[in-house]
Structure formats: C-alpha cells, structure tokens
C-alpha cells in the first residue's frame, strides 16, 4: 500500500508507523498516556497482514526483556511506555546497550517523580540522555515535536539503532502522544526475511543455521582487560554517533538577538512565543534540538554566536540547560524557564520569561 494522509493521535501514529516500517515485534504494558500504542496495534492485528508479533506483557520489565530477546535474534523489535514504566525498563535497556543490540523504545513522558501525574512532562531528559540504567552507555534519543515526527522517528530510530547496534529512544511527551494532527503515513515496507536478517545481523542468535559457529548475546565479561575493551568499543561507537548524527532545527536564528532553545512539543509553543516577541520588535530565534543524544553541541555553539542571551524552556526544573551551558561554555547568559507538574506554559508566558530573565537583566 502507498502513502496515506490521516488524522490521528501521536500514539496511534506510532503503531501505524511501526507496522509500515516492517517492525517484527512489539511488546508493551499499559500505562497512561501511551496505552493507545498497544491498543492500536491490537486493533490493527498486524500478525494477520505483515506477520508482526504484538504481545501484552505481564510488566514493563518483562516487555523490555522480550525486546532484549527479539533484538538478540536480529529482529526489529520495540516497546513503548511512559515515565514510571521506563524506569522499570532501565535494566533491560542497560543490558541491550551492553550487548550492543538494536531496538526502539518510546517514552511518552509524564510528570514525576514517583507515580507523579499523567499530565505531560519533559522530566526524563537526564534519564534518557545520560544513560538511565547502570554502566557507561548512551541511547540515541530523538525528540518529536509533531505527530508527523512520531511517525518519521520510528523509521529513523530503527535505522540508526541497526546502523550502530545500539538501542534508540523516541523521547516524546504526553502532548505529542495525545494530540491529533494530520499525518502522512509512509508506504508499507515488507518485513525482512530470515535470510535477510541472517545476512544483515551475522551476530544474531537465530540458531546455528547451516552449522555456522555459535553466536552468543551477552553483556557479561569477568576478565577486566576484556571488559575494558568492550567498554572502549562502546565508547568508540558513541564518538562516531556524536560526530555523524546530531540533528537540530533553526528558525529565524540569523538575525536574532535572543535565542529560545526547546525540544519536543515545547518547541512548538516557543515558535509561537517567537512570533509574539517579533511582533513586539524583539528579535528572537528558535533552536530545536532533534537528537537530544547526541546533543547538537556544534549547532548550539554556532547558534549562540553573537546572541545576547538564551532562554531554555522545558517542562522540567532545568535539565537540557546543562548541556546548553556545556556546549557554549557559558559564553553568553543562559537562563531556564520551566513548568512542572503537568502545567504547560502559554506562548505569552514564555515571552514574559524571556523579558524578565534575559532582556531586562
């Protein structure tokens, strides 16, 4: 089937995108505000069409370990959850990073800590970008700002995770997950055959087909020198990703005196704030990191050149601002404006914060 234009929620769009990508398996557990991913998949019954496996697991822990198992065999597998569930998945995510397995994880963030709230939040930035589980590792983290990007990042996330053999995360929030927008769904791509998987993933535990040497997927190595080697190999991979994969978007940055930096849905609010500020004669530009890891350091550094100050707007108490300050070495003033507990700032509120925290200072 070809490309289709539809109106739907971000969570529903992810389900459609996964089937169309040729995803082999989804393993999930219900949690608000992302349960529509599993519900949509169950209602679309892809096992009848593409052969994709969909399974409601007994817990987030089981779901991520199913993803670990599926990924070990070279299949394109994914899971989705929201903040408290993602905390539970950290064990499996760390094991997948250690065992160098490709997989896609969607976090439709809600407020924390603890059970927190079911309202939108961006408070899992640290968890997503700095590792999250134990050990020295990173995930590739993509931050969608629209339902369209929820769709696009399914394919991008899978492609990058297979390219680098590392798990990728779509770090969305309750706004992008729940809002409905027009979306272009890509054409269906056939799932890879067993032969194609064996060719693409010679490391995968698909059974010793053709009497080949056995494959072992493990993150364990008790010999310290070998474990150091494993870690160096991971770090080399991360350096390569940092070099090649940073992505960001800039709007009106060329003539701007002030810069708003925001990711995900909040970048949409900041785009409106930028318009309001410009109507008032304040030259504001917007920089939106798309990959949160690798963080677009160069983009932010260049974007900050010649500006009078930066306001970082997030639905948290100040997380991405640390990466911004590191990227520009505090060469210009950087302030933070954040709302917590599920409250979403209005564009005017953002402009007022910019005036108060940066311009009038």
């Amino acid at each position: 089937m070809k490309e289709e234009v539809m109106l739907m929620k971000g969570n529903e769009a992810v389900a459609h995108a996964a089937i169309r990508y040729g995803c082999d398996g989804y393993f999930g557990y219900p949690i608000t505000p992302q349960s529509e991913v599993l519900e949509t998949l169950e209602s679309l019954m892809p096992w009848e069409t593409t052969g994709m496996v969909v399974l409601q697991a007994e817990s987030e822990v089981a779901a991520i370990n199913m993803v670990y198992g599926g990924a070990s065999t070279g299949k394109a597998v994914m899971t989705s959850s929201s903040s408290p569930g993602i905390s539970l998945k950290q064990e499996g995510i760390s094991y997948m990073a250690g065992a160098m397995l490709p997989a896609l994880i969607l976090n439709v963030m809600r407020g924390g800590p603890g059970l927190g709230t079911i309202q939108p939040s961006q408070a899992d930035y640290f968890q997503a970008t700095k590792g999250g589980g134990h050990g020295d590792y990173h995930l590739i983290v993509l931050a969608p700002a629209s339902v369209q990007e929820m769709v696009d990042f399914v394919a991008l996330g899978f492609d990058l995770s297979f390219k680098y053999r590392t798990p990728a995360m779509i770090l969305a929030d309750g706004i992008v997950g729940q809002m409905m927008e027009k979306v272009v769904l890509p054409p269906f791509r056939p799932r890879r055959t067993a032969e194609e998987i064996r060719k693409q993933c010679p490391w995968a535990t698909t059974g010793r087909f053709g009497h080949r040497k056995r494959n072992v997927i493990t993150s364990l190595e008790l010999e310290p020198s070998k474990m150091e080697e494993v870690n160096h190999r991971l770090q080399e991979c991360y350096r390569e990703i940092e070099k090649s994969e940073p992505r960001w978007e800039e709007i009106n940055t060329a003539d701007a005196e002030y810069l708003l930096i925001a990711f995900g849905s909040i970048a949409r609010i900041c785009a409106k704030a930028m318009e309001i500020a410009r109507e008032k004669g304040i030259k504001v530009g917007l920089l939106r990191p798309i990959t949160l890891w690798p963080f677009p350091k160069e983009g932010v550094r260049k974007g900050a050149e010649g500006k009078k100050g930066i306001l970082c707007v997030e639905l948290n108490a100040g997380q991405m601002i640390e990466d911004i300050r590191l990227a520009i070495h505090d060469s210009i003033p950087v302030e933070h404006y954040g709302r917590l507990g599920g409250i979403i700032p209005s564009p005017t509120e953002v402009v007022e914060a910019l005036e108060k925290k940066i311009i009038e200072k």
Binding site: N65, G69, T73, V77, T205, G207, R208, F209, H211, S219
Partner: protein, 253 residues
C-alpha cells in the same frame, strides 16, 4: 595387552557429547550442572535440532552455560529468561527455545516472568536447577531452601517466621493451563540421569510440536554451597530434599 590395543571403537562405552565443548567447566566438582549440561547436549544432538536451538542462560552459576553447549545462546538478566525466550520463540517459530534457570532466577526474582510465560503456554522448555541455595553469590538462602537449612543468610537455619516457607514453584506451574508437561527429576545416580534425559527429550519434543510450556525441574546438589563433599551432598539431597521435592511427573498431557 597394550593400551593401544584396547582403544578401539568396539570397546568404547562412553563418548563426550559432540555439542559439549572441549573446555574446563567452571562448576565445582560434584555439582549437578555438568551432568545436566551433558544431557541437554546429548538430547539436542540426538534430536537433530542443533541448528535451530537457542538457549537462554540465567544469572547464577549457569550464567556461563553458553561457554559449554555448542548452540546459540542469549544471556538474560536475572530472572528474565522466560520473557527473553518468549520473544525468541514467537519471532522464530521454527526454532526450539529453552531456558536454563536456577532456583533464585526461576522462583524469586523471576517468578512473574516464569509464571506468565508458562501461563501463556509459550512453546518453550524451562530447565530448572533446584539446589536450594544461591551458589554463585556464595551460598545465600534461595526461595527453595528447606526449613532449618543453614545458608550464609540463614546461618542458624531457615525459619518460617522470619523467612517464610520454601516455594514450590514447579507445583504451581503444574496447575497452569499453559503447561503441558511438568516433571521433577534428579541426576545423582546413572539411573536418575537417564530418567532426566528422557524427560528433557519429551520436553523438547513438546516444544517442537508446539504443545505449550514444558518444565523439567532437576533437584540438584550444591556441595560447595552446602559445605559438603560431593558424595555427602548426594546423600543429604536424598535424605532431605526428596521429601519436600518428590521426584516424578507432576503433569503429563
């Protein structure tokens, strides 16, 4: 007669299974793991399923099972082997998937994954080594530790009021609709080992025929953890473990 005259094919009474690697095992002398590994290697080779068998190893002493049996292996996080096996089995229906788990893995940290995989009737084999102790971490209490049994975390013996009762996970699994074959065996005598091998074969046949989940518990010794000689450990197992964990089939469908 010279030794070279004796070493002839017709005089051979025993061979190491071809799927068992030529390496030193890290298991303690007297431990049951080695025998169970050997039996699995024999069964897989004899059934001609070497190229489509995927093992899922646990956390515990058998974490390194992948170093000894020459099939594809996935090393799972502690207790998660049934979840890992679920995905492999569902995504590669033509493959034969088994988990190899200890008592802590199966009946403490992984109880949820174990029960739910079995309840879904995943077409997998669960091999459960029950030696009533945590061997790898140095002999702590396991969910299956007997009442009164001394371990490093029950130095005065397991007490029901402090530690609860030994968990009969295999009996629980036998009650679930998803299991098709649940049996309890041991490997302390050649005869017992032969019965375990037959049980493993039946379990693998069930997985191939997609009859549901098969569970083969092997009541085992951990002579190091129990602080006994291998012979004494076998005796202690017969005298103490078999009362609580009687051998035989719990469910055959």
């Amino acid at each position: 007669m010279e030794i070279k005259d004796i070493i002839k094919e017709e005089n051979k009474v025993y061979s190491k299974p071809e799927l068992l690697d030529n390496v030193h095992m890290h298991y303690c002398p007297g431990c049951s793991h080695g025998v169970v590994h050997k039996l699995i290697a024999e069964v897989v080779a004899e059934m001609g399923i070497t190229d489509k068998t995927v093992g899922v190893s646990p956390v515990g002493c058998a974490v390194f099972a992948y170093n000894y049996i020459d099939v594809d292996w996935i090393e799972a996080a502690h207790g998660r082997a049934p979840a890992v096996a679920t995905a492999v089995s569902r995504l590669w229906e033509e493959n034969v998937v088994f988990t190899y788990q200890g008592d802590g893995d199966m009946a403490a940290i992984g109880t949820a994954e174990t029960i739910h995989a079995a309840n879904r009737g995943e077409n997998i084999v669960m091999v459960f080594i029950n030696n009533a102790i945590y061997g790898m971490t140095g002999g702590q209490m396991a969910p299956t530790t007997l009442v009164g049994q001394k371990t490093s975390t029950t130095p005065y013996g397991r007490r029901i009021d402090l530690n609860g009762h030994p968990l009969e996970i295999t009996d629980i699994l036998a009650t679930l609709s998803g299991t098709c074959y649940v049996t309890r065996q041991s490997v302390h005598t050649p005869g017992a080992a032969r019965k375990t091998k037959a049980a493993l074969k039946k379990a693998f046949e069930n997985a191939i025929a997609k009859r549901g989940t098969s569970v083969v518990e092997v009541v085992s010794t951990c002579n190091s953890g129990w602080k006994m000689s291998p012979v004494k450990a076998n005796e202690w197992m017969v005298e103490n473990m078999f009362d609580k964990y009687p051998l035989g089939d719990l469910k055959v469908e």
